[in-house]
């Protein structure tokens, strides 16, 4: 994600590119039901209320990591990045608490993760990646991470995987809730939600504002010796407002609109020991979706139009304010048809217009892109599920090849208390060059080819009831994958001019294992859910052009070989206890795998208590972060917070 530019000859200026250009309880994979794999369980939701794309339906054989509302409950006041890094072994790279956070799945880069909301990509069109610390958990009812290439479903960028932010149906009647949380190092969060649903209309509003000083202490060796300092220039203020409206025009037709506004003003945390140049970044995003859904006897039609606008302003003592304004005007239409109960077909098309006014482009640019897709789900028997998807994208200059997916799940055997599924999936994905890749001056390269990903995976899914009463259930899933990304884009220096310019530079191969196991136990008033998850990731450059000076056969920078998470969620009467431990293995900080960052484990926990008074429900939650007080760095030279606490109070009325 780091780009370099050549304003002038020194590393300092080169680095501005960097600033400007890039500037779970692993919840069970089959989250809601121990008995049924993914999309079956989700099918129980009435279609008309499922506003977000449920990712599993057309993804047989794919692996998911899902955080449902229960898993997200202790993280209501956190960001998507914080929740995912605390509860899953997925690797998120962050420059500090609340700072830029990006996720790479299966050893790919941050720009190979597509982040979606209402079926539209939230990745900045300029950078090609999303900042998951700008997205509050409060705006999503669930988070589903689909591992592996899935461009057929999600379009560009879903090469390593996709993060789908889901919304939940609005409950009948009127509900309001308020949340206030105060924590260490000046953390303060205020949240308000309200919703109302009648037979015809449902409305939901959610607002969150959070601030933090992040002035936590750390130790550093300076000229005078070891000294204790407080983190400088890391304060932030972020707010988010979501508004959903849905109108049932008749029993078969629904009109809906969704808006999501986020604003963030962050000081940029300097690296350990370097001079503070008072860098500051302001991000503002507006996202509007308008949709119409018509149900038919055997299917439905969905038409959506959306406008997404992003502003990124960056400035420091060394750099006058840099402006980036981008907007995407887009429309999607899709028709889902179910000719037989076990066969479902979805076909659709989308168009996008990008408009960008970015200082580095030297003017306003516009660009059109389009795509057509078809998704097919066929269950020949109750024990076999098949999906076949394909997407053809159209982008200027270079057309990406067809991106197909073929997936299957087969129930190998089943007894009264056990079932074992075999899963397999193969897919081709693509990532269109970003606007920076194409238009940055100097260096932008309009002739870049899209990056291509080819991945395949196979795995087992096992479920068993460990007792006759089916109150002790165990699910285990094991996946092995291989993924090859070709025409991987980097920004090497042109030897003749010295300018940095993106090129289709190399081929990268990643392969690994993903294992997870979830235990659910219910004993009288006590409920336990425990999940352990582990990933092994090997990611290497396998080939490169002569311009590519990085060595082959070394583990890529910032891809941990080993990562794990262990979560327990307990509930007893009106008490809740949640523990989230995550382990991140050694990561190399250079392309030759010479320097490494030490591994670390972080333990978070929360204790909650609910009280009911009439129609009011009060929840008090004490949250502890980094309870072992580990001094660690996620990104080199960026100190993470020591042990910290937060106390939150939530009042809900219904």
């Amino acid at each position: 994600m780091v780009r370099t530019y050549a304003f002038f000859p020194s590393a300092l200026r080169r680095g501005w590119l960097v600033a400007l250009l890039f500037g779970s309880s692993q919840a069970p994979v089959w989250a809601q039901s121990a008995a049924l794999p993914a999309d079956t369980s989700r099918r129980v939701l009435p279609t008309v209320q499922v506003q977000a794309l449920r990712p599993a339906r057309y993804a047989a054989g794919s692996r998911f990591t899902s955080l449902d509302s229960a898993a997200l409950a202790p993280y209501r006041s956190s960001t998507v990045a914080e929740a995912l890094s605390a509860r899953t072994p997925l690797y998120l790279r962050t420059y500090g608490p609340g700072q830029l956070a990006s996720m790479s799945i299966r050893g790919t880069a941050a720009r190979h993760t597509a982040v979606l909301w209402h079926g539209f990509s939230l990745n900045f069109p300029s950078l090609g990646q999303a900042d998951l610390n700008l997205l509050p958990v409060a705006a999503a009812a669930r988070i589903d991470v689909q591992h592996g290439p899935a461009a057929a479903q999600y379009g560009t960028g879903a090469v390593g995987g996709a993060v789908v932010l889901g919304t939940a149906p609005v409950a009948r009647g009127t509900q309001v809730a308020g949340l206030l949380e105060a924590g260490s190092f000046g953390a303060l969060t205020l949240g308000l939600t309200g919703s109302d649903r009648t037979d015809r209309v449902s409305v939901r509003t959610s607002f969150q504002q959070r601030t933090a000083q992040n002035d936590y202490p750390y130790t550093v060796r300076e000229f005078a010796g070891e000294v204790r300092r407080r983190q400088r220039n890391a304060a932030l203020s972020q707010s988010s407002l979501t508004q959903d409206i849905s109108v049932q025009l008749n029993p078969r037709a629904e009109l809906f609109a969704a808006a999501w506004l986020t604003a963030s003003d962050r000081q940029i945390q300097p690296a350990l020991g370097i001079r503070d140049v008072h860098a500051r970044q302001r991000d503002q995003s507006g996202r509007l979706v308008l949709g119409y859904r018509q149900r038919h006897a055997r299917g439905e039609t969905l038409v959506q139009a959306a406008w997404f606008g992003d502003a990124i302003l960056y400035a420091s003592d060394e750099l006058a304010t840099s402006h980036s304004y981008t907007q995407v005007r887009q429309a999607q239409a899709e028709h889902t048809f179910r000719p037989r109960p076990n066969l479902q077909v979805r076909a659709g098309a989308e168009g996008q217009q990008f408009v960008a006014r970015v200082d580095g482009y030297g003017g306003r640019i516009t660009e059109w892109r389009g795509a057509a897709f078809a998704l097919l789900r066929y269950d020949p028997t109750a024990r076999l599920r098949l999906t076949l998807n394909a997407r053809q994208a159209f982008i200027p200059n270079r057309r990406p090849p067809l991106a197909p997916t073929l997936g299957a799940e087969w129930q190998l055997w089943r007894t009264a208390g056990q079932q074992l599924w075999l899963k397999a999936n193969a897919a081709r994905s693509y990532r269109a060059p970003t606007l920076n890749d194409r238009y940055w001056r100097p260096g932008g390269n309009p002739d870049l080819k899209p990056e291509l990903g080819l991945g395949y995976e196979a795995g087992l899914h096992h479920e068993t009831a460990l007792n006759a009463a089916h109150t002790l259930l165990l699910q285990t899933e094991l996946t092995a994958y291989r993924l090859v990304v070709d025409d991987w884009i980097e920004w090497p220096q042109d030897p003749l001019t010295g300018y940095y310019s993106p090129r289709n530079l190399r081929q990268v191969r990643t392969q690994g294992l993903e294992a997870s196991s979830t235990l659910r136990w219910q004993l009288a008033a006590y409920q336990l859910s425990a999940t352990g998850a582990y990933t092994f990731t090997q990611a290497q450059k396998t080939q490169g052009t002569p311009l590519d000076t990085d060595p082959v056969g070394r583990q890529l920078m910032y891809v941990p070989r080993h990562a794990a998470a262990l979560n327990t969620d307990h509930r007893w009467r009106r008490w809740t206890l949640s523990t989230n431990a995550s382990f991140t293995g050694v990561r190399f900080t250079d392309a030759a795998a010479v320097t490494e960052l030490p591994a670390y484990a972080v333990l978070n926990a929360s204790v909650g208590r609910e009280l009911t008074a009439g129609r009011w429900q009060l929840t008090a939650l004490l949250r502890g972060f980094n309870l072992t007080n580990q001094e660690y760095q996620n990104y080199a030279f960026h100190v993470m917070p020591p042990r910290a606490w937060a106390l939150s109070l939530r009042a809900a009325w219904q």
């Binding site: 000859p9 680095g15 350990l272 020991g273 370097i274 000076t549 250079d590 030490p598 760095q633």
Partner: protein, 346 residues
């Protein structure tokens, strides 16, 4: 060491390394430093300045011993147990002290050349670039303003007995190299087309020399002529007649260019547009065939034997130094830290 970035050696290797360096047996007691052998062996040492990654403190000075061929990747970090800082731009030796200019941190680290331990810091500088000396005083170029709104830069006069800034002299925008020649200081104002000429006697700019756009690097040859590397020209002039200039056209290249002279100071080396050219100081045009076809981040000529040291690499991995004979034949190579930009022969 807490919180300090830990270089990636398994503990065993670290132990072995300490053993080899004899450090396990030398006490941590500073009183005993007299028994410590010199880390930087005079006459045998090549110090390689590595810029490191942007906005990271991992710039480094690597040490290469010409007789043992041993490399210490990050000498400053090893001897001081802390990182050097954000972008090491240049290093200059004055007497038995080394002055490492850490650009983005606005700081100069002063080290004892025997053991490379920091003895002082000059701080609160503004984007410092290059340093030269007249003996008891050092002159340091600094940029001011921010991208792209740079303002007139300055030369800070540093009292070397106290390592403090005694006076500041305003020069042109974004001053790069500074050269002492014929008793005058020449400053290359890279956002413009002039050299400022400073009289070090009274610390004032007494004149300026107009040169082609973008002057950055300076050198004085054996005949006393001054060489200037600009964006698209190499310029030579006699300080007595600065307006009479010989200009040699080169491929326009915004990079540093690594203008260097051989030991006798009668041959020029320059690294432009992916190649290194070498020619006599009397030349009036660039040779048609380059000395080396290689894209370099740094270039150095050993004044003992004219061995050519070429630094190459990206900013994502450790760089490599390739040594060449005067005929351009590869001798050998070794790895250093990220982005080697210059060599200092000590």
């Amino acid at each position: 060491m807490k919180n300090v970035f830990r270089p990636g050696f398994p503990a065993l290797r670290t132990f072995a390394g300490l053993l080899a360096a004899g450090l396990l047996f030398s006490s941590c007691d500073d009183d005993k430093v007299t028994t410590e052998p010199a880390v930087v062996v005079a006459g045998q040492s090549v110090l390689v300045v590595n810029e490191g990654q942007f906005n990271q403190p991992n710039s480094a000075v690597s040490l290469y011993n010409k007789s043992t061929k041993a490399v210490e990747r990050n000498l400053f970090q090893k001897q001081n147990q802390r990182e050097l800082g954000n972008v090491a731009q240049s290093m200059t030796v004055i007497g038995d002290r080394g002055y490492i200019v850490v650009n983005a941190d606005g700081r100069v680290e002063v080290v004892d050349m025997k053991n490379f331990k920091a003895v002082a810091q000059i701080t609160n500088l503004s984007q410092p670039r290059y340093l030269t000396s007249t003996g008891s005083r050092a002159f340091l170029t600094e940029w001011r303003g921010n991208y792209p709104n740079y303002t007139a830069g300055r030369v800070s006069v540093i009292d070397l007995s106290t390592n403090t800034v005694a006076q500041q002299i305003t020069v042109g925008v974004n001053p790069e190299q500074i050269l002492l020649a014929g008793g005058k200081l020449y400053v290359a104002n890279s956002y413009g087309n002039t050299l400022s000429v400073i009289n070090p006697g009274n610390n004032t700019v007494e004149s300026s020399v107009t040169v082609p756009d973008g002057p950055r690097q300076l050198a004085e040859d054996a005949a006393g002529n001054i060489w200037v590397l600009s964006d698209a020209f190499l310029t030579r002039f006699n300080p007595a007649t600065p307006t009479q200039q010989t200009r040699i056209g080169i491929t326009s290249d915004y990079r540093n260019g690594n203008l260097r002279l051989n030991a006798a100071r009668d041959q020029v080396y320059v690294s432009i547009a992916g190649a290194v050219y070498r020619f006599a100081t009397t030349a009036t045009a660039l040779p048609t065939t380059p000395f080396l076809r290689r894209n370099l981040t740094g270039l150095g000529i050993d004044p003992q034997d004219n061995t050519v040291y070429a630094g190459a690499g990206s900013y994502t991995a450790d760089g490599r130094v390739i040594r060449y004979t005067t005929t351009g034949t590869v001798i050998d190579s070794f790895n250093v830290a990220i982005a080697p930009n210059s060599f200092l022969f000590y």
